[in-house]
Symmetry: C2
């Protein structure tokens, strides 16, 4: 299991939290995802054999946010 | 047909626009609803015999926003 903390720009409200937690949480191999809206952080735990960090970042970007 | 412009606080992103336009737009008697995110304004046209301004404001507040 890997853990990563991503800086994400553009998250502004509860809908954004749901959009990111929902989409990333659905990826196979992602065990948990938690958004800290005030800090602009996304904490994600995942199995690197099943899903890559690049795929996770891409999923967040597809929702309209910038991963730093 | 009546037209009203409401000042609404707390709208921060496209999800907020969708939440307000979707919920207000579903009210019977509402002909159109348009959110200006940058200005914090909601323009709504409605038939006052079918829906009251109070109901429209309440619907926006139920979505988590403050109508000024």
């Amino acid at each position: 299991m890997e853990q990563q903390q991503l800086n994400v720009k553009g998250m502004s409200c509860g809908h954004c939290v749901n959009a990111i937690e929902g989409s990333v949480g659905k990826l196979e191999g992602v065990q948990s995802v938690k958004v800290d809206l005030n800090k602009g952080l996304v904490d994600v735990s995942f199995e690197a054999e099943k899903v890559s960090l690049a795929q996770i970042k891409e999923t967040i970007e597809e929702q309209g946010y910038d991963v730093q």
